[in-house]
């Protein structure tokens, strides 16, 4: 017997919270992206645990898609960061406030 599903869930919530804290708090754009990655990872953990609980493979299939999306998003996000760094010389999130007002 492995652990109850609720423990898996709780671990995933903790990881998700850590990722959210990182994305919300850090000023560096790269650190924000890292927070997003952590969150996606935690979601994948939930899916795998659920797949084991219900004895279905759908959860695992979905994790593959999560990986795919994470990869695509990281690629584009980092390309954006590089672009921004070239344009404005800063990757501080506070520097970009054109939407102010």
């Amino acid at each position: 017997m492995i652990v109850p599903f609720s423990h898996v869930l709780l671990l995933a919530v903790i990881l998700f919270g850590l990722g959210a804290a990182c994305a919300v708090t850090r000023r560096n754009l790269i650190m924000i992206l890292i927070g997003v990655e952590i969150m996606l990872n935690a979601a994948g953990l939930v899916f795998v645990g659920a797949s084991l609980k219900w004895q279905h493979l759908d959860g695992q299939a979905f994790v593959i898609f999560i990986f795919t999306v994470a990869a695509a998003e990281v690629a584009v996000g980092l390309a954006l960061i590089v672009f921004l760094q070239r344009r404005t010389g800063s990757v501080n999130a506070n520097r970009y406030n054109l939407l102010k007002g």
Partner: protein, 637 residues
């Protein structure tokens, strides 16, 4: 009959409406023609109604008005001999004055507004005259008040004139409150708003109720007719154009009060106390106004006080229990007072808006026609036999004298004295204006060459009025003089009308002789006191000691009393309420409450920093809120 009455009342109204809407785009002649034709049309309808109405009154419903629940009010009309003769007088005088106004307003650009209001006034006055439904009557009552206000303050750019209009409106409004209360009482007691039914049920009123209603109606009438205590607006109302003074403040609106009392005579006459009060008010006001007229300098103010005095006679007539005398004097007074006002308008026009009689003089040679017309009016007003005013005033004095109550004898004495004051001030005015001054006294700054030409219309319309005022006595010639007492018999079917006063012929005869003789003596006295040679001594010859002169000139300081006792405290209170409470308290309170809103929005502004971290925080916040909602709503705690 229905069409006739409808046209009679509504022709002026439709004309006013037409002029109000498109009057400014029409040529001047057309506007004047429409206005005059409307009133002349009403006159024609009034003649038809007069000719075809019988002795019994009839109620005719003209238009449905409104209905709420099971209460409804119609525009209905009660045509009895009283209303017929009054409508005839109103339309006749109005027509002549409208035609006069065409000449009077010749140089004024605002004629559309003037004629519109005049027509509206005629409509409202006819409603008052003829209406059966009390709410319709109130509509007309208020309408005449409003038109009076609008026309007194016609030249509203002058603050003094506008204030005079306001004063008139406020004071008549005070009376209207009493009228409204009376209408409410009528409705509660008799459950109907029809004048004829109320008069029919009059016997069912208790004595106390009848007294109360009588006093309320008296107060309302005192407002409209400028009796004490609400008399102070009429002298100031002379700020309006002279045709307005002639129409509204001589012939029609000021008589509406008396007319109201006469219409409600079955109710009023149930209470001897009310009748006595009416008589006392009438007599007191008559004396007060006659004294005040004796010291005035403005020609129109003299005539205004004279109007107050003469209307008081009509009140006295009603108070003495006889409506024929009141109506007789009303009709005669309408003619000669309108004549006097219009002739005064001619004089003022010619002398370039000069109002002070001590600056006039010698107009006999310059305006001979007006001289004779004014003389006719003055003779009628002064009750010099055998002209119009003599018979009517005498009728009232007779009715007062033969009244069974002893208090009326005192009233008779006062009224008789006032009747002798009347020719005194009338001819004071006449001699001052028209007779030649001695050359030494002609230092008035009036420029001899600066006189304006008189439009002929203004003079021609005076002729019918002059003729009527001279022969008005024929309306009700006593049988002693082989007259047929036509008016008394005509009104005998109306409640309160008696076919002939039950007086002994010799009382009647001696009284008439006495008053007639005394009037002529007073005329002579007036000539002696105010003849032009007196100008050598003083520029403003007065026959009274200085203190009395001042007292009379200021109208016994009644105006000042009201100002100090009522108007000033009221203005102070309203200023306090306005500045401290309304602007300071309420406005500032609302402003401060309104300032709370920017505080909120500034607080909200901190969310729109444009920074990524803020938005991410908001996302997390939203996520937490959704989680809370799920937790609270989903789980069975």
């Amino acid at each position: 009959m229905r069409t006739t009455l409808f046209l009679l009342i509504f022709l002026p109204f439709l004309s006013a409406l037409l002029l109000a809407v498109i009057g400014r785009r029409l040529p001047r002649r057309m506007v004047e023609t429409i206005a005059c034709l409307a009133v002349l049309g009403s006159l024609a309808m009034a003649i038809i109604a007069f000719a075809s109405s019988g002795q019994k009154g009839q109620v005719v419903t003209l238009l449905p008005w409104f209905a709420v629940g099971d209460f409804s009010a119609e525009m209905s009309v009660y045509l009895d001999p009283l209303a017929a003769v009054m409508a005839l007088m109103v339309t006749l005088v109005s027509s002549l004055i409208h035609i006069y106004s065409v000449g009077f307003m010749r140089e004024d650009e605002d004629y559309v507004r003037f004629f519109c209001y005049m027509n509206l006034f005629v409509f409202a006055m006819l409603v008052v005259t003829l209406s059966d439904n009390l709410l319709f009557l109130y509509l007309g009552w208020e309408g005449v008040g409003f038109c009076s206000y609008a026309l007194i303050g016609f030249w509203h750019s002058d603050e003094v004139k506008a204030a005079a209009g306001r004063k008139a409106f406020v004071l008549t409004r005070i009376g209207d409150v009493a009228f409204g209360i009376a209408i409410a009482f009528f409705f509660i007691i008799t459950n109907t708003l029809s004048l004829s039914s109320i008069n029919g049920q009059a016997a069912s009123l208790s004595a106390g109720m009848a007294t109360a209603l009588g006093i309320l109606l008296l107060f309302a009438a005192a407002g409209k007719s400028a009796q004490l205590p609400l008399a102070v607006w009429l002298p100031d109302a002379m700020a309006g154009p002279t045709p307005v003074s002639a129409l509204i403040h001589a012939a029609t609106m000021v008589t509406a009060g008396v007319y109201l009392l006469i219409r409600f005579f079955p109710v009023v006459s149930l209470s001897p106390a009310a009748l006595l009060t009416i008589a006392i008010v009438g007599t007191g006001t008559a004396f007060f106004a006659a004294c005040a007229a004796l010291a005035q300098k403005d020609i129109k103010r003299i005539l205004a006080y004279s109007t107050i005095s003469q209307v008081s006679y009509m009140f006295l007539g009603v108070g003495a229990g006889d409506i024929t005398g009141g109506m007789f004097h009303l009709l005669a007074h309408a003619f000669f007072k309108a004549l006097l006002f219009l002739a005064a308008g001619c004089v003022i026009h010619v002398l370039n808006e000069e109002h002070d009689i001590f600056r006039m003089g010698g107009l006999r040679s310059r305006l001979p026609v007006v001289f004779w017309l004014f003389l006719a009016g003055s003779l009628a007003l002064g009750a010099i036999p055998p002209f119009g005013g003599f018979f009517s005033k005498d009728y009232i004095l007779l009715a007062t004298f033969i009244h069974p109550e002893p208090a009326y004898k005192i009233l008779w004495v006062v009224a008789a004295v006032t009747a002798l004051l009347t020719p005194l001030y009338t001819f004071r005015l006449f001699f001052m204006v028209f007779l030649e001054r001695p050359a030494a006294a002609k230092e008035s700054p009036r420029n001899e060459q600066a006189v304006r030409p008189l439009p002929r219309l203004m003079v021609w319309t005076l002729w019918p009025l002059a003729i009527f005022s001279l022969i008005a006595g024929l309306l009700n010639l006593p049988s002693m003089w082989s007259g047929n007492e036509w008016l008394a018999r005509y009104l005998s079917a109306v409640p309160g009308g008696v076919p002939s006063l039950t007086a002994l012929p010799d009382i009647e005869g001696s009284m008439e002789m006495g008053t007639g003789l005394l009037s002529i003596i007073v005329l002579g006295l007036s000539y002696y006191l105010y003849r032009p040679q007196k100008f050598r001594a003083t520029p403003t010859p007065g026959a009274l000691p200085q203190t009395l002169e001042q007292l009379f000139f200021y109208g016994f300081y009644l105006d000042r009393l009201y100002q100090v006792a009522i108007v000033s405290p009221y203005q102070r209170i309203s200023r306090f309420l306005w500045e401290r409470i309304d602007e300071g308290g309420l406005d500032r309170g609302f402003d401060s409450a309104g300032k709370l809103l920017p505080i909120f929005s500034i607080g909200l502004q901190s969310w729109t920093t444009g920074r990524l971290s803020t938005y991410l925080k908001m996302l997390l916040l939203g996520f937490t809120v959704i989680l809370c909602a799920l937790a609270l709503g989903w789980y069975p705690w």
